[in-house]
């Protein structure tokens, strides 16, 4: 009765991996590859259409491997599908210009946002989707598993064990997905050592490593010079601390990377202390080691910080504060983007960050015309985690407000957008319609690139005051609450004054005076540090700022 079945092989992927390794043998000595042989190795092992993760993080870049891949012959290597979180380097763009890569699934393209938009318009690239970090990491294990990954580490030993240094970032999740699905893992390292300070990736997961001619590039993305913090930002920080952190008792949080949130960090030991908030707010953080957090750490506000990556110049300070950060046994920081994003999503009660545009529903986006920026971490941090099941005072209070004062079955995350109403003359932060919708049309995308959806936003803070969207009971109220803090932008000036006053009477809109804040107090004198040099001083000389931030 049994019909003759074709024999199915169940180890096709392992055989394909074996074939790739065999083709690579002329270009390696064991796992070690000479820098000059890297292009030949890549040409030998890559196959057209491969899914490749070329480690591009927020900060750390596998730049030598990116340049090597871009130097491959497009006759040999073409139509690759890149699955990587950040598109940051010119070499990343070149891959598409040369036809080496064709399709892209990613999260963030900050520095290459303009060139990426041009590639889309000239149809030199297909974009699958713009993801949040966790979403892309999730897909690494479902339908976007890399066949080859090109990663960056600090050091390797002779066997191929890897030490990642303080900027772990995405490396573990990339390697995990690749190594355990018969993929090929190739690492560039800054140095080869006899003995690693610690092993972050075991040699059995690594196929090749190369000592790059120059150390991998790391961008100090999280350093904000306090000199550039304005009095408006000080005023908005006062509102956030007094009107949100204190009122909800926010102990666990994540901050964006702008000057607005740097101002909050620098106000904790001064304004926060004067309100008696030490030990009551801002104790546990999902945050990179921001230099502007140093004064709050030194003042005893901060108890614990888990980080996505690290920050250039903060190594010695972090190593000297092991109770605060997560160091390895060797003393240096262990970061991890996937875990820290998970922490920000599920274990934090508040996200606060800035944006470029907010519409009348509270949707916000950093995508503006001609630029495809992507989002990075903000959408995970800045969204209500509907899978959350543990309570906290802040989460319950927010949930109760959203539920009309009744005790709800679930709480609500506080998601705060803090923006000055005009970014600069000619560029209002409040708009009737996000540029994201135009981008969707121009770029033929399935979805508009919205960073934070309006229904996740709980508060909007501007220099004019604070709107509590949790208390709004209709779309009309929500719209007027947003207009009511939108200042002298066209959106703000088109407000219904009577309705806005009604919202103010109900505490949905609050002005600084309504919160007991005297605008005269909003001066830079409130900042715990007013310069990078102040931060160095606050760290006891442990913080070593990169050259571009030294102005003495």
């Amino acid at each position: 009765m049994n019909a003759l079945q074709p024999i199915r092989t169940w180890n096709h992927e392992a055989l394909r991996r074996q074939a790739r390794l065999e083709r690579s043998t002329p270009f390696s000595r064991g796992k070690a590859v000479a820098a000059r042989d890297m292009v030949s190795l890549l040409e030998a092992l890559l196959e057209p259409g491969d899914r490749v993760c070329l480690e591009g993080n927020n900060q750390k870049q596998a730049d030598f491997l990116a340049e090597s891949l871009a130097a491959c012959s497009p006759q040999r290597v073409h139509d690759l599908h890149l699955v990587q979180s950040v598109l940051a380097l010119p070499a990343h763009i070149e891959l598409f210009e040369k036809g080496i890569a064709r399709r892209l699934d990613f999260s963030f393209a900050g520095p290459q946002a303009h060139r990426l938009a041009r590639l889309v318009q000239s149809r030199s690239i297909e974009i699958g989707a713009i993801h949040t970090y966790l979403e892309l990491f999730g897909r690494y294990f479902i339908d976007l598993t890399p066949q080859v990954c090109l990663i960056a580490a600090q050091a390797a030993d002779a066997e191929g064990n890897l030490y990642l240094g303080p900027n772990t970032e995405d490396t573990p999740v990339i390697v995990e997905a690749t190594a355990f699905k018969s993929g090929i893992v190739i690492a560039q390292v800054n140095e080869q050592l006899e003995r690693l300070p610690r092993v972050d990736i075991p040699a059995s997961w690594v196929d090749f490593f190369v000592v790059a001619p120059t150390p991998n590039h790391i961008e100090p993305l999280f350093t904000r010079d306090p000199r550039h913090i304005t009095e408006i930002q000080v005023l908005m920080a006062m509102m956030a601390i007094k009107g949100i952190y204190a009122e909800y008792g926010v102990e666990r949080l994540n901050h964006g990377i702008g000057f607005d949130t740097a101002a909050i960090e620098l106000l904790l030991p001064t304004y926060g202390e004067s309100l008696g908030l030490k030990g009551k707010i801002a104790r546990y953080w999902a945050l990179n080691p921001h230099p502007t957090l140093i004064p709050a750490i030194e003042a005893g506000f901060v108890e614990r910080v888990h980080s996505f990556g690290s920050e250039v110049g903060m190594e010695a300070y972090v190593a000297a504060r092991p109770d605060i950060f997560f160091p390895g046994a060797d003393g240096s920081l262990r970061s991890n983007r996937a875990f820290c994003q998970t922490a920000g999503l599920y274990a934090c009660d508040l996200f606060i960050g800035s944006t470029l545009q907010i519409d009348l529903e509270g949707n916000s986006s950093t995508a503006t015309l001609g630029r495809i920026t992507g989002f990075g971490g903000a959408p995970n941090m800045g969204s209500d985690a509907r899978g959350r099941r543990h309570a906290s005072a802040a989460w319950l209070k927010a949930g109760q407000e959203k539920n009309g004062g009744q005790t709800p079955a679930r709480g609500q995350k506080l998601v705060v957008q803090t923006v000055e109403t005009w970014r600069e003359p000619g560029h209002p932060a409040f708009v009737e319609r996000l540029d994201a919708w135009q981008l969707k049309q121009d770029m033929g995308m399935a979805l508009p690139p919205i960073m934070i959806y309006g229904d996740d936003v709980s508060h909007i803070v501007t220099e004019e005051g604070m709107a509590n969207l949790l208390l709004c009971r209709s779309p009309e109220e929500r719209e007027q609450a947003i207009r009511g803090v939108a200042g002298y932008t066209p959106v703000g000036m088109a407000r219904d004054h009577a309705l806005v006053e009604n919202l103010r009477d109900r505490g949905i809109i609050r002005r600084p005076a309504d919160m007991g804040i005297d605008v005269r107090d909003a001066t830079r004198d409130l900042l715990a540090a007013r310069s990078i040099k102040d931060l160095v001083r606050a760290s006891g000389g442990l913080y070593q700022p990169p050259k571009q931030f030294r102005n003495w």
């Binding site: 304005t230 009095e231 000055e420 003359p425 000619g426 220099e463 909003a522």
Partner: protein, 103 residues
């Protein structure tokens, strides 16, 4: 550089006795406000030098609200913006007025 003159009705606070006082500094997106005694107790006069083009309507709205918010009759404000945003302008004006009053 555009110059805007605005002469608005305003209530006077007779207890105010402004000496010529300068608030704020022109630099890094900040602006300079000079408050002096005016000629008419029922009016508030503004002279604005602005670096931003096409911002006159916004300036008018900012200053009209300011004159309605505070008893600024009999005062004259000379303002040099340095490309400052309305937020900075409003904050500086409020600070200037409150300092005048508190002094």
């Amino acid at each position: 550089m555009e110059t805007l003159h605005l002469d608005l009705p305003a209530i006077q606070d007779a207890s105010l006795n402004p000496r010529a006082a300068l608030y704020g500094v022109v630099s890094s997106g900040n602006l300079e406000v000079l408050v002096e005694r005016g000629h008419d107790a029922t009016r508030c006069v503004f002279e604005v030098q602005t670096a931003a083009h096409g911002f006159v309507e916004v300036w008018k709205a900012v200053l009209t609200d300011f004159a309605a918010r505070h008893p600024v009759g009999g005062l004259s404000f000379a303002i040099h913006d340095a490309g400052a945003t309305p937020a900075v302008v409003s904050l500086r004006l409020d600070q200037a007025f409150q300092s005048l009053r508190g002094a």
